[in-house]
Symmetry: C2
Subunit: 720 residues, 2 copies
C-alpha cells in the first residue's frame, strides 16, 4: 500500500511534466493540457516533446523524452495508439515515473486492443511506471495547478481548489460532474478519470485520496470493480481516516456461470453485493447527480452527525408536518423534548407546538429573539446530533437576515458537536457566508432531511469494531462440485452450525433403527449429490412415527427415485428427527467473482423467492454486522413474534451465521457456495435455530473470462 | 357547482375592492394590500374603509362599506377578530359579494373561536357572501393585479403572471412556495391560501382553477380535507378538463373510533386513502417542494406523455447506464429500437450502443449532425411518447449551443406529440429559450427521468371509463354493530360474492346432517357476533370427515366456548365445506370518515398484517380499477402461479371485489365495514375465488367530533 501511495504521488503531484505530442494549437488534444499548465501556472519544469521540433506554445520542443536530459515525474501521452509503444520505450529510457495515456484504441475496441493494452501495462509495471488510462480524460490536481487533461471543461470555467476529491471511471461523467461542481460553487482537490484502467483503478485513486492531507471528502463514480480486495482496502482506509466516501455505482457484473446453479447466488444480484460492501464500509451511496453533490458538499461543510437524533424547528406548522413525515420515513430519531422544555416554550408562545418538531409560529415576527431562544432550549434539553430549522423566506429579507446570521454563529459556537442546518431562501453570497460558518443551507426542507439522514449512516454500524477473529479449525479443502447432503451437514455442524439430529441409513431396517435412536417422529430424505430437488421425485417422506411407516416409506422412496433417476448415484437415505413449528429461514454463502464470499440471510419461502427480502454482507463480518443483517429484514416481525407467537432466538441465528462464515473462511477458494434451506428459527426454549437441509458446492476451476464487463465508451473529446 | 364557480369569480376576479381597516402605513396588515393594489395597478375602483376618515395612501377613507355607496365585489377585512361581526353586518348591508378574512382568533384558538367562526360563516352564507379565511394570508390573482394579501413576499419581489394556479391551506407554506416560484422563474395565475376554511376550501379553489381559462396546471397543498365529495368533484373536473393537479398532502386524519375495531380500517391508514383518491383522479402527488415545482413547471411546459414509452439518448455510456437504471426503476418502457434502426446507427458510429439508451459516443464532436440524425432515427422507429437526450455540458459551449437549439426546434416541429427533454447545463436565459419551445430542461438526468415518469401517470388508468352502473338490489339497511357471520355471508352472497357452501346448525345431530349434505370434509365454526377471534377459544374445528369426528368436535366446541365466554350470545355453529389449497386473500370495504366507503384487497396472513401489501380505491370503482388493484400488489406473483403452482382466477377476484363494492353501495351510510378474511383465490378449474369468513359491521351514529384535525398555526405575519 505504501509503495502504491508514493508512486501515485509522482503521478498526481509531479514536480516536472512533459507533454508527448505537444501541439502549438491550444484546442487540440496535444495543445489543451500545455495551454492549461502554462495559463493556470503549474509550478515546475514543463517540457514539450514533438519530433518536429521548433517552438510549441513558447516552449522549445524536444525530440523525445530521453532527449530532455532532466527528470520527468509525469509524461502526458497525447498521441495516437499506434505511437504509444515507442513512446513507452522512450519513457522507460528517460526514467519517467508516471504516464497519463489519453489515447483510445485499446481494450474498448476488442480483443486485439485488449492484448495490446495488457502488453503496455505489463511493460510499464516492470519498469516501475504508474499509468492512468488509456482511453481516459486524464486528471487535474487543482491545488497544485496540475492540468493533465484534454477536457475542455476547465477552459469554459475553472473549479476552485477545495477539499473534495472526485474520481470517475467514465471521462464523460467526470467532465459533467466537473461542470456541475463549478455551477454549484464546490471546490475540488483532485479530479481524476481512470478510463480503461490498465494500471490505476478507481480504487487506487480512492486509497490515495484517503491518505491525501488535502482531501476531506471523496466522490467516486464506478461502473465495475476489477479488484474487490483493493476496493475494500481503499474504503477501509477512508473509513479509518474518517473521510466520507460518496459513491455513484451503475451497471452490472455478470455472475460466474457456475454460480448461477446455486440458489443463493441467483438471489445475490451483483448490485446487492456492491450495496452490501458499501454498507459495510459506511459508503454514502448516491443515486442521482444531485444527491452526489448534496452529500459530498454537506459532508465537507458540516461533517457527519454522531447519531440519528434530530431536532426540527419551524415557523410553519405545514412545513413542520412535512419535515416530520420526511424524518420519520428516513428513519431519523425525532424524539420529543422533556415536559419541562415543552413548558418553557409554551410559556413563551401559548399556541406553539412544543414537542418536536417545535413550531414556534409566526409569533417570531413580534420577537425575533424567540428563534435562537427556542433553538437553545431544544439543544440544551436533548443534545440532538442534528438540528434543522425552517425559517421560511427570512434569508431573503434584509431585516431578518442579520438575526439569522447571528443565530447560526451563536449556535455553532455553543453546540460544536451538532450538525446544524437552516432551510430558507438565500442569495449565493449569503449562502456562502452561512456555509463558511459550518452550517448547512437548503431551500427544500425535504432535501435537507434526506441529506442529513444519509450522512448519519445506514444503521448503528460500529465503525471501530474489530473484525472477528476466531481460532478456526484446519483449513477445509472442498472437492469441486456438489457435496452429498450428509457431508454438507457434517461440515457445517463441524463449523458450529446447529444441525438437525440425523443418521445416514442404507436399508429399511437401518431406518427403523434410526427411528428408535432418534425417537418420536422422523423424516426420510434420499441422499444423493445428483438429485437437487428431492421432493419432486418422491425422495422425501415426512412425519414417520412407526416402524411400519418407516419401512413402507423407505421402500416407496427407493422405487420412485430409481424410476425417476435410474442413473443417479445414491449415498443412502438420511433419517432425521422431524422439526415442527418455527419460522423457515434461509442462510447461505456464495462466492462473488469480484468480492469473494458473501453471506446471505433471509426468511424462507415467498419472502426470499418472490419478495427478495434478504440481507447480504461480504466476509469477514463482525457479530454486530450479522445481528444487523437479521434486523434489517422487512419480515423481521415474523421472527420477533408477530400475532402472539413466541419470538425466536435471534442470538442463535447470529451464532449460526457466524459459524457459516467461519466455514466459508476455512474452505477459502475451494468453496463455491453453501446454503442452508431451511434454517428453522425457533424460540430459545425450543432449542433456537437448526439447519434441516444443506447444499454445499465446491468451486470448479475459475472460468478464463474476466468477470468484469467491458467499460462504456468514454467521450473521446468531451464537448465542454 | 356553477353557482359556486360564479360566486368564486366575484372573489378572485373582483371588479371593485374595499379594504376594511385600511392603513396609511404600507407595512401594516391594513396597509400592505392597499399598497400592492395601488403600486401594481389593479384596474377598478378601490375604496379605503376606516372610521377615522382622512386620506389613506391617497384615498379618502369611508366610514363603512355601506357608506361607499357603490358596488363592492370584494371586501378585505384587515381588522382584529373582535371587530369582524360588526364589519360583516356592514358588508351585508352594503351588498358586498365576497370577503377575505385575514384575522386570527377563531377556530385555531379553541372551541369558543370555532363557535364564533361557525356563526360568521352561517351569516355570510345566508347573505350569499363567499368568504375566504379566517386566519389566512389571502390571495393574489396575478393576471388581474388583484393583491388581496398581507404576505410581504410580493413586496420582496413579484412572481410573473403565468398559467399555473397555486392553492395552499397553510399561509406559511403558500408564502414560501410563492418565493420559490419567484426564484425558479415560474409564472402563476391565481395564488390563494384558505386558512381555517370557514367557507372556501382548497377543493373550491381547485374547482375554480379547473374551469379557469387562464390556468393550465394546478398546484395544491393540503393538510386535511373537510369535504371528501367536494374534493373528488373538483379533481374530476380538473381531470375532465385535462389540467394536471400536483398535490402536496401532509398530516393525518383520525379514523373514527368505531372503525378502529375493524381489521380493514386499521390497515387502511388515512394517508393510504388519500393516496388511493389521488391515484383514482390522476393527481400527481409530490413529496418534496422540489418535486412540487418540477412536476408543475414540466406539465405547464410540455404537457403529459401519452404513455410510458421513452427513448433515451446519450453521449456518455456512464450517464446512459444511470438513465437506464432510473427509467427501469421508475417503470418506464425503455423498449429497444428495431434491428434496422440499430443498424443505421451502427453504420454511422460502429462503436455506438444502438438499442435504447442510444449512446452515440463522443463521435458527435467530429460531426454535430449525428445528434439530430440519431434522435430522428429513434423517434421515427418507435414513436416514443417521451424522448430525453443527455448532451453533457454542450449547453454551456458557445460552439455547440446553436446546434442544440436547432435540434430542439426541429424535433419539436417534427414530433409534436412527444414530450421532449434535454439534459445539459444551461444559463437561465438559454434555459428559458428552450422551455419556450416546449422542451423540458434538466441538469440532473435522474430528476428528468423521475419527472417524466410521474407525469406519465401511475398506471394504465382509463381516464374516460364510465363509472360502473349496475341494477342494484333494493338498498340494504344494516343495524348498528357486528352482524352474525351467517348473516354477513348471506348478505355478501346475495350481492354476488361467491361464498363457501355452509349451513347453520344448532346441535351435533344437525352438524352430522350438514356433513351428509355437504359431503366430503367440513369445518365447524362457532357463530356469534360477540366472539371476533373464534379459533383462540376453541371455536373452530377443521377437516372433519366422519359423523364421529363431527359429533366430538361439536361437543368440545360447546364446552370450551362456554368456558371461555359464558355470556356470549351464540347463534349456533356454522358447518361449512372445507376449502383446501388456493391462496389466502383479504378483501374489505370500510367507511372512511372523509371519503366514505373504501375498497381494499390484499394477500392474507403476513402479507397484509406485516408487509401491509394492500391496495385501496374509494368507491365507486370501475372494473378496470379493480383489476389494477390486484395487479399492483407486490405479492402478485403468488397469484400468478409462482414456483410452478397454477395461476389463480384473477377475473373471479375482480368479480368478487365488484360484488363487494355493490354491497357497500346498497348498504350506503348504514355500513361501517365489511371484511372477507380469507377470500380463498383458486384456479378457474377449481371454481375461482370463494369467501370463507365474513365480518360485517353496521355503522353506529356518527361521533359528534369532527373527523378533521385542527389545522396548523399559519404564519400570522409572514417573514418575507
Amino acid at each position: 500500500m505504501h509503495h502504491d501511495i508514493d508512486s501515485l504521488s509522482a503521478l498526481f503531484s509531479p514536480r516536472s511534466i512533459a507533454i508527448v505530442g505537444a501541439s502549438a494549437t491550444p484546442s487540440k488534444i496535444g495543445g489543451i493540457p500545455l495551454d492549461y499548465l502554462l495559463r493556470f501556472g503549474f509550478q515546475g519544469p514543463l517540457y514539450a516533446v514533438n519530433p518536429r521540433g521548433g517552438l510549441v506554445q513558447g516552449l522549445a520542443a524536444h525530440a523525445s523524452l530521453d532527449a530532455i536530459g532532466a527528470p520527468v515525474d509525469l509524461a502526458i501521452f497525447a498521441i495516437p495508439a499506434a505511437l504509444v509503444p515507442a513512446a513507452l520505450d522512450d519513457a522507460i529510457a528517460a526514467g519517467v515515473k508516471s504516464i497519463v495515456l489519453f489515447s483510445s484504441g485499446f481494450a474498448e475496441i476488442g480483443d486485439q486492443g485488449a492484448a495490446e493494452q495488457a502488453r503496455l501495462a505489463h511493460k510499464a509495471r516492470a519498469a516501475g511506471i504508474r499509468l492512468i488510462g488509456p482511453n481516459c480524460l486524464g486528471f487535474m490536481h487543482l491545488a497544485r495547478n496540475v492540468y493533465a487533461t484534454f477536457s475542455p471543461a476547465p477552459g469554459v470555467g475553472r473549479v476552485q481548489p477545495g477539499r473534495i476529491g472526485l474520481v470517475s471511471q467514465s471521462g464523460a461523467f467526470g467532465a459533467y460532474a466537473y461542470s456541475m461542481a463549478r455551477e454549484r460553487g464546490i471546490g475540488l482537490s483532485l479530479w481524476a478519470t481512470t478510463g480503461n484502467e490498465a494500471d490505476v483503478q478507481v480504487a487506487d485513486c480512492l486509497a490515495w485520496l484517503a491518505q491525501d492531507p488535502g482531501t476531506d471528502v471523496i466522490m467516486a463514480y464506478m461502473e465495475g470493480c476489477r479488484d474487490g480486495p483493493k476496493l475494500r482496502a481503499a474504503l477501509a482506509l477512508a473509513q479509518a481516516n474518517h473521510k466520507p466516501v460518496v459513491m455513484v455505482k451503475v451497471g452490472t457484473t455478470a455472475l460466474g456461470a457456475e454460480a448461477a446453479a446455486s440458489h443463493t447466488a441467483s438471489l445475490a444480484g451483483d448490485d446487492a453485493v456492491y450495496d452490501a460492501i458499501f454498507r459495510q464500509y459506511g459508503v454514502l451511496r448516491a443515486h442521482t447527480l444531485s444527491e452526489f453533490f448534496d452529500l459530498a458538499a454537506s459532508a465537507a461543510i458540516a461533517g457527519t452527525p454522531r447519531d440519528r437524533s434530530i431536532g426540527l424547528f419551524t415557523l410553519s406548522g405545514g412545513v413542520g408536518a412535512m419535515m416530520a413525515d420526511d424524518a420519520s420515513a428516513a428513519g431519523l430519531d425525532v424524539r420529543p423534548l422533556s415536559s419541562e422544555a415543552q413548558q418553557t416554550l409554551r410559556d413563551w408562545v401559548p399556541f406553539a407546538a412544543p414537542r418536536n418538531p417545535v413550531d414556534i409560529t409566526g409569533q417570531v415576527t413580534n420577537d425575533f429573539t424567540l428563534m435562537e431562544r427556542s433553538a437553545r432550549v431544544m439543544l440544551e434539553d436533548q443534545n440532538f446530533a442534528s438540528w434543522m430549522g425552517f425559517f421560511a423566506a427570512a434569508g431573503a429579507s434584509d431585516k431578518v437576515w442579520p438575526v439569522l446570521h447571528q443565530l447560526v454563529t451563536s449556535l455553532r459556537a455553543a453546540y460544536p458537536d451538532t450538525v446544524l442546518a437552516i432551510c430558507t431562501l438565500l442569495s449565493p453570497a449569503r449562502r456562502a457566508e452561512i456555509e463558511a460558518l459550518g452550517c448547512l443551507v437548503f431551500s427544500d426542507p425535504s432535501v435537507g432531511i434526506r441529506t442529513i439522514a444519509a450522512l448519519a449512516g445506514r444503521g448503528a454500524r460500529p465503525v471501530s469494531a474489530p473484525v472477528r477473529t476466531l481460532a478456526l479449525p484446519e483449513p477445509v479443502r472442498l472437492p469441486p462440485g456438489t457435496l452429498s447432503e450428509p457431508m454438507g451437514l457434517a461440515l457445517l455442524s463441524g463449523a458450529g452450525v446447529p444441525v438437525v439430529e440425523h443418521h445416514l441409513v442404507q436399508s429399511a431396517d437401518e431406518a427403523v433403527l434410526a427411528l428408535t435412536a432418534l425417537g418420536g417422529e422422523i423424516a426420510l430424505k434420499i441422499a444423493s449429490a445428483d438429485i437437487p430437488h428431492k421432493s419432486d421425485i418422491g425422495g422425501v417422506a415426512l412425519g414417520l412415527r412407526s416402524a411400519e411407516q418407516v419401512q413402507a416409506a423407505f421402500a416407496r422412496m427407493q422405487t420412485s427415485v430409481r424410476a425417476a433417476q435410474p442413473t443417479a448415484r445414491l449415498d443412502g437415505v438420511l433419517a432425521a428427527r422431524m422439526v415442527r413449528g418455527g419460522v423457515e429461514c434461509i442462510a447461505g454463502v456464495h462466492r462473488d467473482p469480484v468480492f469473494g464470499p458473501v453471506l446471505m440471510f433471509g426468511l424462507g419461502g415467498v419472502h426470499v423467492e418472490i419478495l427478495r427480502d434478504v440481507s447480504l454482507r461480504a466476509l469477514p463480518v463482525t457479530r454486530a454486522e450479522v445481528q444487523a443483517m437479521v434486523l434489517e429484514l422487512k419480515g423481521l416481525p415474523l421472527l420477533q413474534g408477530a400475532r402472539g407467537r413466541p419470538a425466536v432466538d435471534l442470538e442463535s441465528i447470529a451464532d449460526s451465521l457466524l459459524a457459516l462464515a467461519d466455514f466459508a473462511t476455512a474452505a477459502g477458494d475451494t468453496l463455491q457456495s453453501a446454503e442452508i434451506n431451511p434454517l428453522i428459527a425457533r424460540p430459545a426454549a425450543e432449542g433456537g435455530c437448526v439447519a434441516v437441509d444443506a447444499l454445499v458446492i465446491g468451486h470448479a476451476a475459475p472460468a478464463a473470462a474476466s468477470p468484469v464487463p467491458p467499460l462504456s465508451q468514454p467521450l473521446q473529446e468531451a464537448i465542454a
